[in-house]
């Protein structure tokens, strides 16, 4: 029974119900005695009025007892907190049963998933509804099926067919959100003719899209009820972050993977193992290369770094796996690394020999630099036979270092190279001339028109002319002490162009022997490779994770879940934002990657300090009891004044 009393000890006052009867009994036991003459009038009156007075006495006794009883009950403060929804009034109503079928609804409680429990709750709740109830049944993932065609949402005009449909309802466990299906709901509710409409959402609240504004907009169309499937006691370790320090490694280069494990459940988890699995190819399980024991108390996180060295070039799916718990969907995370034999750089022109030496000082370096003195001829010969400009002579050049584009043919080859994802470093040296730079689409900084064509420029002239003509989408990476730009980057196609406003060596300067030259050159190229090769992964954003509620151990306030199943309302509907830090994922972009089937369709659920407080929906009965008591009291006064008149 869901009836509670705010002051239950006052219920002892119900003994007072017997007081009117007791007073009446005592009163009749000790009468006044009067010697009376006019007995004939009394006899006539009693004979005529006795039945009425007796009935009236019993009625007034009952009323007085009821007044005391209701008053005691009202003082005790009864509150009705139904576990099921109260019966609505007669008349037609439309009830839309909306099921959250996201991944978190897979959590099992007593061998049943949250979704199945929610279905059972819905079936029980339907038993409480009046016969003139029409039902609609939807899941969050129905947005994929319905789209904007809300009319195709089935409506069940009798309970039996609705129950059958509900039993056959299957979850998709997709990542669709309440926000996505909200327009569908609004359109559907607007078209319903029933005077009373309500939406019953069966959810565990594991959605980042429960914003107050959305709920408020839906409440314009119908009353909303959030029904929690079950009690929460979750044993859940979540692999909330898994990433590699780099996306591209050379063979033999040490790789590092960072794992962050959080206990997002409500109970401590026993010792479990974190495994690192390296896949050897598409659709294969892979090999466990590391297994580390770990314990994470409730509400805490641990970060672990796992090293590994790849010996063969190729693409490797890397998996981090935790032991099983209540929610298995967040126990695995995947990433993809590319292993290359080495990074190959083509250095064109005599001035680039310093760059080549810096990139590959010996044979063990992951970068192999090749010098080509007769570059214009060799570049044309090597590239023009291949349509795919990112590969030269069957071997990919990861970067090309030049001092100038020599002619239109070179420029066209380099344009294709950049579109295909190449990295181009242009060191402007003494041999730099201005042949046709205005016609190059990818040039990050043009030279001014006053400069005469085919004339060799000095350093001062170059910097003076280009500092005023940097393209809007270019980025200044390095500047000198006078804020004159030295290195400018521009992305073009899938590749990038770096313009360095000075020569790589003498006679203009001695930067190549400066201590910062070598680290700068390496970092620039590695970052460029990382960025270009891992572009799809880069666009997805952070590592997805599932955050489970933690009502007891989180002082910072996660979700304040109720202790028991029931009907709850959200008191401040306009201010609730769950997980404001969560970012939208573009899974479609990631699906382009060839191992898309490894990626779980989970909801990004970053941590949040905001609280969602569920207030159990209650009905205060004591005001009505006071009204009833006062009404009976007034009635009693009225009877006492007029009752003797018969």
């Amino acid at each position: 029974m869901s009836l509670h009393f705010q002051h239950s000890w006052l219920l002892f006052g119900l003994i007072g119900v017997a007081l009117p009867w007791l007073f009446r009994w005592l009163q009749t036991r000790n009468p006044h005695y009067v010697r009376w003459a006019a007995m004939q009038f009394l006899e006539q009156t009693i004979i005529r009025e006795a039945a009425r007075v007796r009935k009236q006495n019993r009625w007034r006794l009952f009323i007085r007892m009821a007044i005391i009883g209701f008053m005691v009950l009202a003082l005790a403060g009864p509150v009705w907190a139904p576990r099921r929804l109260p019966l609505l009034g007669p008349g037609e109503q439309y009830v839309l049963l909306l099921f959250d079928d996201s991944y978190s609804m897979r959590v099992q409680d007593a061998d049943r998933t949250q979704f199945e429990i929610a279905k059972q709750q819905a079936l029980r709740w339907m038993d409480q509804q009046p016969s003139q109830t029409h039902y609609g049944i939807l899941t969050f993932s129905d947005i994929m099926r319905l789209g904007e065609h809300t009319a195709s949402a089935a409506t069940y005009t009798d309970t039996k067919s609705a129950r059958n449909a509900l039993r056959q309802l299957q979850p998709s466990f997709r990542a669709d959100t309440f926000a996505e299906i909200l327009p569908v709901l609004q359109n559907l509710l607007r078209t319903r003719p029933e005077p009373v409409k309500q939406v019953c959402v069966f959810t565990d609240g594991q959605r980042r899209s429960w914003s107050g504004a959305k709920l408020s907009s839906l409440s314009q169309e119908a009353s909303i009820r959030l029904i929690l499937p079950t009690r929460r006691q979750i044993d859940n370790l979540s692999l909330v972050r898994f990433e590699s320090s780099r996306r591209v490694y050379a063979v033999g280069e040490p790789a590092s993977f960072t794992c962050e494990v959080a206990n997002t459940g409500t109970m401590d988890h026993e010792q479990t193992w974190l495994k690192l699995v390296i896949g050897s190819g598409e659709h294969e399980v892979g090999e466990t290369v590391a297994s580390i024991p770990m314990e994470v108390p409730t509400g805490e996180r641990k970060t672990i770094h796992l090293p590994y060295q790849f010996q063969q070039p190729g693409f490797y799916p890397v998996t981090a796996t935790l032991g099983s718990d209540d929610l298995s969907v967040d126990n695995e995370r995947y990433t993809l690394v590319e292993i290359v034999p080495y990074f190959r750089v083509l250095c064109v022109g005599p001035s680039t020999r310093y760059v080549a030496l810096a990139l590959s000082p010996d044979d063990s370096s992951p970068i192999r630099a090749e010098l080509a003195d007769d570059v214009p001829q060799s570049l044309s010969n090597l590239i023009e036979n291949r349509k795919d400009s990112t590969f030269v002579d069957g071997i990919r050049y990861d970067a090309v270092v030049i001092t100038r584009p020599w002619d239109m043919t070179d420029a066209r080859i380099l344009t294709d190279y950049l579109r295909g994802g190449g990295i181009l470093l242009v060191f402007l040296g003494p041999e730099f001339s201005v042949p046709f730079d205005q016609e190059l689409e990818w040039i990050p900084a043009g030279l001014g028109a006053p400069i005469e064509e085919s004339r060799t420029l000095n350093e001062a002239e170059i910097q003076r002319s280009w500092e005023l003509l940097i393209q809007p989408d270019s980025q200044i990476l390095l500047a000198d002490s006078q804020d004159k730009p030295l290195v400018v980057r521009r992305d073009y196609g899938q590749g990038s162009v770096f313009y360095v406003g000075t020569s790589a060596g003498p006679p203009w300067n001695h930067w190549h022997i400066q201590p910062d030259f070598l680290p700068w050159l390496h970092r620039t190229l590695r970052d460029a490779w990382e960025r270009n090769r891992s572009r799809p992964i880069w666009e997805i954003g952070g590592t997805p994770a599932v955050r489970m509620p933690d009502p007891s151990t989180s002082p910072s306030g996660l979700l304040e879940w109720p202790e028991e199943p029931g009907i709850y309302s959200i008191p401040s509907i306009g201010t609730i934002i769950l997980n404001p830090d969560a970012r939208e994922m573009d899974l479609r972009a990631f699906n382009l990657v060839w191992f898309w089937q490894y990626w779980p369709e989970v909801e990004a659920f970053a941590s949040s300090d905001d609280q969602l407080s569920f207030v159990r929906q209650t009905y205060a009965l004591w005001p009505w009891l006071w009204v009833l008591t006062m009404s009976l009291a007034c009635y009693e006064v009225w009877i006492s004044r007029t009752g003797s008149s018969g």
Partner: protein, 300 residues
């Protein structure tokens, strides 16, 4: 006189002194053989001229009006109004129910009866006393000694028994000469039908009737509260809460009084229902004053 009445329980010399100047005259003609103060339907020897009629042999020639003869040479008899004594019968209810109140209804009735007897005897009329008790009544007689007999008999009476005054009235009224005057002092706590019958029969016998309906204010209003057990003077008991029946009781009493009042009005019976908590002398004086006023109004 005070010393003469001091032996009687109910006789109040002061009360008698206050009422001795009042007149109590019957509304109708009195029929009697002895001369008195009251109008008779017959011609008599009073000084008040009534009419002339022709002489018929056998008439007393002393009654011939010789002045008329001198004028008209015709013998004419001069007749005068007849005046006679009247007999007043006082019927006193001595049933147990008359004992209610302080002073009781019986005491109030006795003082009224004594007042009436005193006045009647002072007018040389005859008075009798009838009651509903066991003792024998007092036959109608005039003279001062009758008052002593009246007072002595009243002293012997006590309110007890269940005998109804209507029964007594029906038994006695045919034993006295007609055209008398009955003063009934009772609380009339009996069947309204028998009471009406007795009064109508009395009127049928040519008597004038004055009904004093003596009810205590408590018996009209029933002002008790709380659970009360009523024990009847003449038997029976009831326990209830008076406030629950008060209105119905008042309605019942008022209906009875109204019916009795209408019966008396239709039979030309004086119906008086005084407040017995007031002094007897004021009730008595007020009644006689009003009666005298109405008599002069109807007989100027």
């Amino acid at each position: 006189m005070q010393s003469a009445f001091s032996a009687y329980r109910y006789v109040d010399a002061e009360f008698l002194a206050q009422i001795e100047r009042l007149d109590f005259m019957p509304r109708h003609y009195s029929v009697g053989w002895l001369p008195g103060r009251h109008h008779s339907p017959f011609r008599g020897t009073s000084v008040e001229f009534a009419e002339h009629r022709g002489y018929t042999p056998g008439d007393d020639i002393r009654q011939i009006d010789w002045r008329v003869y001198a004028r008209h040479e015709r013998y004419t008899i001069r007749q005068h109004e007849g005046e006679t004594r009247t007999s007043v019968h006082i019927l006193l209810d001595t049933s147990a129910s008359m004992d209610y109140g302080d002073p009781s209804k019986f005491e109030f009735a006795v003082r009224l009866a004594l007042g009436f007897a005193y006045l009647i005897l002072r007018q040389q009329d005859a008075v009798s006393l009838w009651h509903s008790g066991e003792a024998v009544g007092l036959p109608p007689t005039s003279g001062p000694a009758q008052f002593h007999r009246f007072a002595k008999l009243v002293d012997q009476l006590n309110p007890k028994g269940k005998r109804r005054v209507s029964k007594v009235l029906e038994d006695v009224v045919h034993r006295v000469p007609p055209h008398g005057l009955w003063i009934v002092l009772s609380d009339c706590l009996e069947s309204i039908e028998s009471l009406e019958h007795a009064l109508q029969y009395t009127r049928y016998r040519g008597h004038e009737v004055i009904l004093w309906h003596l009810l205590h204010p408590d018996e009209i209003e029933m002002p008790f509260t709380g659970t009360t057990e009523f024990v009847g003077y003449e038997g029976g008991r009831m326990r209830f809460q008076p406030e629950q029946f008060r209105e119905a009781y008042r309605t019942s009493v008022e209906r009875f009084r109204q019916k009795l009042r209408l019966t008396c009005h239709s039979e030309s019976i004086d119906y008086i229902s005084p407040d017995i908590t007031e002094p007897v002398v004021s009730v008595f004086t007020e009644y006689l004053t009003q009666r005298s006023y109405h008599r002069h109004a109807t007989h100027p």
